[in-house]
């Protein structure tokens, strides 16, 4: 590489940054607890204060609590880098993935609660079945009865781009459980289901748009949305959820399928 001097500057910066870090921070976690086996139907708050690395994830801090302070703390997690969608929680009042929140950004004090609108089963674990039922209701799979070609179906980069954003959904439920309409009525299909319908409605290879739009035109469908943008703010994948919902509304009102 001919850029040796440039890298020299970068090396110095990275060394300085490391020298400035190093110190641990004190973090107090205020966690909403629930355990029907030991404490009945009432939830309660617990506080834990730990020492943490500033660049740790909030998930690491929760692990520290579980592994060293209170083994009964229950949460879901898997990949720990924002792809599997297991650890959506309400963190300081906003939905996020615990593995994408960095301790430095929330210290010295953070409040952690389960996502809202789904039945809590234990601590930070909620019943995801109503959420997945909404997902399943929009026929979330490619519908094409025209027969399969020998090779791939053709799709231009522009056609592919039309639905790119909504293919990023990881079904973490952060959007749906940030929606005030969903909090009030679990029958509302919710933002994530609409995102997954969108992903197929605007796929040039799909032939099921009319059926999906009929489902979403019904009373628990897309017109319940009041465009509060909570869903877009909550999405850990940066999907423009509200825009996707508006696309679908517009198609129901103006397009012929």
């Amino acid at each position: 590489m001919d850029d040796g001097n440039g890298l020299g500057d970068v090396l110095e910066t990275s060394d300085r940054r490391a020298a400035g870090a190093g110190g641990r921070v004190t973090l107090t976690l205020r966690i909403r607890r629930y355990n029907p086996e030991t404490r009945g139907q009432e939830s309660w708050w617990d506080e834990f204060t730990i020492e943490s690395e500033p660049d740790d994830r909030l998930l690491d801090a929760l692990h520290h609590v579980k592994w060293y302070l209170d083994g009964t703390l229950a949460l879901r997690r898997s990949c720990a880098h924002g792809i599997c969608g297991s650890d959506a929680m309400m963190i300081n009042g906003r939905n996020a993935l615990a593995c994408k929140i960095i301790v430095r950004d929330v210290a010295p004090r953070v409040t952690v609660e389960p996502i809202r609108g789904l039945p809590v089963l234990k601590d930070l674990i909620v019943d995801m079945e109503p959420f997945f039922a909404g997902y399943r209701s929009v026929l979330p799979y490619l519908i094409n009865d025209s027969g399969e070609p020998e090779k791939e179906r053709l799709q231009s980069p522009e056609e592919r781009h039309r639905y790119d954003d909504t293919t990023k959904c990881i079904l973490c439920a952060a959007c749906t459980t940030s929606c005030p309409i969903f909090w009030g009525d679990e029958e509302y299909v919710g933002p994530a289901a609409i995102v997954n319908a969108h992903r197929f409605v605007y796929d040039s290879r799909d032939e099921g748009a009319r059926r999906r739009l009929e489902i979403l035109a019904e009373k628990n469908g897309v017109f319940r949305c009041r465009t509060t943008f909570n869903c877009t703010d909550a999405c850990p994948r940066g999907i423009e959820v509200t825009k996707a919902i508006q696309d679908v509304k517009r198609s129901i009102l103006f397009d012929r399928f």
Binding site: V10, R57, R77, C84, I102
Partner: protein
């Protein structure tokens, strides 16, 4: 109380291999999928770069070139007929996924676009070839979603958050599995004619790993405890570009799109180690090169134990359109802006080449003569076909799961259609109940996180990119000590509802089994091949070691090692240069 369910086919695990098998089996026989996670949480979803198949959409390519690269990349420990089969079926496997809606990136003509990847070359090593079909840098996510969508369409029966803890065998054939229901703590027996394991890897035995917390070797360990040998466990892949300290994967696609590795001198050091393909050498070679640079004092970072992955010279639209996720990982977890700064990386434990021995129909086979265990199957990372040999090429894992998931699903359902329902052994749940009761009725004891942390630290120090007899003997001693502590591990939570402390402790037990097998096999193999590098035996030794290893747990707790022939083919082992 134990609930008994009866199925023709039971699939354990709902990542790519399990879902692909389920699609095949559910159309034919009564099928259930049991998974400790919701299917969409599976680790297939984190695979980034692509899935190789010789479509020849953007340049000349043939399955035969792909087969050669796979065999050479695997340092000739690959079973060549299996690699030939996989690379031939790859083409239809990609079209199948496209027909199911997978949103591949496209060429201007609307065909599936393809890009370069490590170790994939034109005409037996001439130059890198564009073979990897991809969907931005979330190809695994799109495969997992697409397969799950097809399962929803077929109304496949899922038992989500059920954790399989034991395999049932009667008269030498598969009889079913025993599972623990996370939400209730209840035990379920699944009586089944055929069972396919697709539980993924066990990278969590290492401190720095790209693997999910839940990748703890459950399937291999369950079978290991039932006397099934594990094959080639010494071969673990250390991916060169993990996020510094955290191990989060930064896809090889970064280098496929033109990213380079540089040391503290600003030198593109891979030019010295692999003059032809440079940064796109196979992962084992690149990881060793990084280790060497660090050892010789050319590392970066505060402890000089990293090197840089540099994409500053790439066009912004390539970074934003083709590598959006990996760019975000650098921003979120390192606070580094890759368009302006190079990203500190280090090798990360990524993929188990070894696992449950199978044939190309995904049947579990035992011994040198490869006798199938009737009704028992495995596919994906938990299995060892072996198509990856001593070092897997990038993208071949996604190919493996769809090709052998499909073959396994097909074979298990045909087997189940013709087979009688097996008898259950007496008291089929007794082992699982004893394990759980033992763990929950202990007033005090060792801390599981301490044991796990020490396992991960020591495996990282003693059995990682570079190993030796000394380091491995030390690791074997460490494991014996950890085992002793594990025998008196303490679980504070005695409840039944989502007792995730209990399930984590059970996972730790499985991790210890996998580590035992890995270290025993690595100690025995006194040569260097693929991902297994012994600094006290730095050369490959085909005369003695062109062999698979089989590790079996003996009644006294020790591990017995045997060897098994590699199925050779047209490719004669030669020195691996790139």
């Amino acid at each position: 109380m134990t609930t008994v369910h009866t199925y023709d086919a039971v699939i354990v695990g709902a990542g790519g291999a399990g879902l692909r098998a389920a699609i095949e089996a559910a159309d034919r026989v009564r099928t259930a999928v049991i998974s400790k996670l919701y299917p969409t949480r599976s680790h297939t979803g984190t695979a980034q770069g692509g899935m190789c198949a010789a479509l020849a959409n953007v340049e000349e390519d043939y399955p035969e070139w792909h087969a050669f690269d796979t065999v050479k990349g695997g340092d000739y420990l690959v079973d060549q007929p299996a690699a030939q089969l996989m690379t031939e079926e790859a083409v239809d496997a990609v079209y199948q996924l496209e027909h199911w809606g997978l949103p591949f990136n496209r060429t201007p003509e609307g065909r599936i676009d393809q890009r370069r990847f490590g170790g994939h070359t034109r005409n037996h090593g001439e130059a890198p070839v564009r073979r990897a079909c991809y969907a931005a840098d979330r190809t695994g996510h799109m495969i997992l979603q697409t397969l799950y969508q097809q399962c929803v369409k077929r109304d496949v029966r899922f038992f989500n958050e059920f954790y399989v803890l034991d395999q049932l065998l009667s008269d030498g054939r598969c009889a079913g599995v025993v599972a623990y229901e996370l939400a209730t703590g209840e035990i379920h027996v699944f009586r089944a004619k055929s069972v396919l394991y697709a539980t993924g890897g066990y990278g969590r035995i290492f401190k720095v790993s790209s693997n999910a917390h839940t990748l703890t070797g459950d399937g291999p360990a369950v079978l290991f405890r039932r006397g099934i040998p594990l094959q080639d466990m010494e071969f673990f892949q250390f991916h060169p570009t993990g996020v510094y300290k955290l191990g989060i994967l930064l896809s090889e696609a970064v280098r496929g799109e033109g990213g380079i590795l540089v040391n503290s001198d600003g030198e593109r050091f891979m030019e010295r180690y692999a003059p032809t393909v440079k940064d796109l050498a196979p992962r084992d070679l690149v990881s060793r090169a990084i280790y060497q640079e660090i050892k010789e004092g050319r590392g970066v970072g505060p402890r000089r134990d990293a090197v840089y992955l540099d994409v500053r010279h790439l066009p912004h639209d390539v970074i934003e359109e083709k590598l959006p996720d990996v760019t975000e990982f650098a921003r979120v977890y390192l606070g580094v802006e890759p368009t302006r700064e190079p990203v500190p990386i280090q090798p990360t434990a990524h993929y188990a080449m070894g696992g449950i021995p199978t044939n190309t129909d995904a049947q579990v086979v035992v011994g040198e003569e490869e006798t199938p265990v009737p009704g028992l199957y495995a596919a994906g990372e938990c299995a060892c076909v072996s198509v990856h040999g001593a070092n897997r090429l990038g993208t071949n894992s996604l190919l493996d799961i769809v090709v052998f998931g499909r073959r396994g699903g097909l074979h298990m359902s045909e087997f189940a259609r013709d087979a009688d329902l097996p008898d259950l052994p007496d008291a089929p749940d007794v082992r699982v109940r004893q394990t759980i009761d033992g763990l929950l009725n202990r007033p005090e004891g060792a801390n599981a996180a301490d044991i796990r942390g020490e396992l991960q630290e020591q495996m990282f120090d003693l059995a990682f990119v570079v190993r030796s007899e000394t380091s491995l003997r030390k690791m074997a001693d460490v494991l014996a000590g950890l085992r002793e502590r594990y025998e008196r591990v303490f679980v504070q939570d005695t409840g039944k509802v989502f007792n995730t402390e209990l399930t984590e402790v059970i996972e730790l037990g499985f991790m210890l089994d996998c580590a035992d097998a890995l270290v025993a096999a690595a100690l025995a193999r006194d040569e260097s091949r693929g991902g297994h590098y012994r600094e006290d035996h730095p050369l490959r030794d085909d005369a003695n070691w062109l062999k698979h290893s089989l590790a079996s747990r003996q009644a006294d707790g020790s591990i017995r090692l045997e060897i098994k022939s590699v199925k050779l083919g047209p490719y004669i082992p030669m020195e691996r240069k790139y």
